[in-house]
Symmetry: C2
Subunit: 264 residues, 2 copies
């Protein structure tokens, strides 16, 4: 099952107030309320109200983020939408697989469905910020879907997951704090810290550090770290960086004590 409160819809570089309004309406149709605009290409939010019939609550609660990493920082999982089925060796999920994975990962915390802008969708770099990516199969005649219609298809599938009963293995009680999934913001901060340390250690090629770093980051995402584990990793790299004498910023605090049940 996918609790509606755990799903965030992220619209990246949305250009059309009409699309924004139509997305708000279909979110209300399927009972979803968390909408984040990432680096919006329009701020004509009032113009969106024309199409956001009976979905003022979605627009009122909408948040704006400067970029995609910021939009995803509180989420433990994100799936981006694209039309490319193969990207750098990764294979796209079907819409059904993506809805099932969003539901599964929502047991660990907030999850995000990321929709690209009208003009060019999500770039490979932007998709790299997402844990997975999905493709809605379309015809060669007109492969490119309207943003709000693609969102309608995906939220329908998510709402169907939401109506399924929780699996027997799913915890009935709220997620214990030590099982809370790592927020993508923390994983991102970890990635940045890893970059500094590994560049200074001359492990990464300064001309092209991203490819190897992405592989490392992706392996951490696949590990489904808890928030505590991600914070431990982050603090560890801060200390390593300081020990190497890089001195770019001093870590705020030492390693958290490893006792169980404590937040790092």
């Amino acid at each position: 099952m996918l609790p509606a409160v755990n799903l965030t819809v992220v619209l990246h570089q949305t250009r059309s107030p009409d699309n924004l309004g139509a997305v708000a309406r279909v979110m209300a149709n399927f009972g979803f309320s968390r909408l984040v605009l990432s680096d919006p290409a329009t701020y004509a939010f009032r113009a969106a109200e024309r199409l956001a019939v009976k979905s003022d609550s979605v627009l009122d609660a909408m948040a704006v983020a400067q970029n995609l990493p910021e939009a995803l920082k509180d989420c433990v999982y994100a799936v981006g939408t694209t039309s490319r089925t193969q990207i750098e060796g990764r294979t796209a999920l079907t819409p059904e697989e993506a809805a099932a994975r969003l539901a599964d990962q929502s047991r660990r915390g907030r999850v995000a469905l990321v929709m690209g802008g009208e003009q060019r969708g999500l770039s490979n770099e932007e998709l790299a910020f997402c844990t997975d990516f999905l493709v809605i199969p379309t015809s060669d005649v007109q492969p490119s879907m309207n943003l709000a219609q693609a969102t309608a298809v995906l939220l329908y599938l998510c709402s169907r997951e939401g109506r399924k009963p929780a699996e027997a293995v799913a915890p009935v009680a709220p997620v214990a704090s030590e099982q809370q999934g790592a927020k993508m913001g923390t994983v991102r901060a970890l990635g940045e810290r890893m970059r500094q340390v590994m560049l200074e250690a001359q492990f990464l090629n300064p001309q092209a550090p991203d490819h190897i770093l992405m592989e490392l980051e992706r392996s951490l995402l696949r590990a489904e770290l808890t928030q505590r584990e991600a914070e431990l990793w982050l603090t560890a790299f801060k200390h390593v960086g300081r020990a190497m004498g890089g001195g770019k910023g001093t870590p705020g605090k030492g390693a958290p004590s490893p006792g169980p049940g404590q937040d790092g």
Copy 2:
């Protein structure tokens, strides 16, 4: 499997050129091309082109029908979309059930997905022209979906049916003419003829003939008549009417000979 050429999208009393364009685009997205407008509330078809990105072929081939029965006359099966889960003792299909039934019935001939107008959807009378009806489950916060977004959800499910391999029991060869499903136009003409005959025979209450007549018609639809059987029924009622001396129109021809493989 659901051959795309066998699915007709019927928009009844569509009011907004934007919605018309958006429906054309999502039809092209999923490889469908047969669009019929039934009793349209706008004829600003050129205005629809703005949203019908790369879907001119859909708009160019679009047909216009004066009313819903005319729009459906060549189809053997139609499912109408509504928000009411119970109508006169009939129960709504889920979107998945409707897509599966459209695929199944497409082995008999053309099938139709009927979408109601923006302002009031499909009335009970209009839904009675459809073999089945479906409901997309939505939230109480905003139960009413945008027309084009609802169409996107349903055509996605239909396109998924289209990608499934044909069942082993399905005929690989084109449908033999004697197995061609009865066209709803023929069934409708049969219904009209039955009404005349049964009113004259004082079987139907002239003040309220429709309810009983609908029950009879529905039982015929459930029987999945072949076109030949429907024509036999129709001709039979023409003869009965003439024999009763009603004299409203003379039948064009006598009963077809019952030899196999002949068209009536």
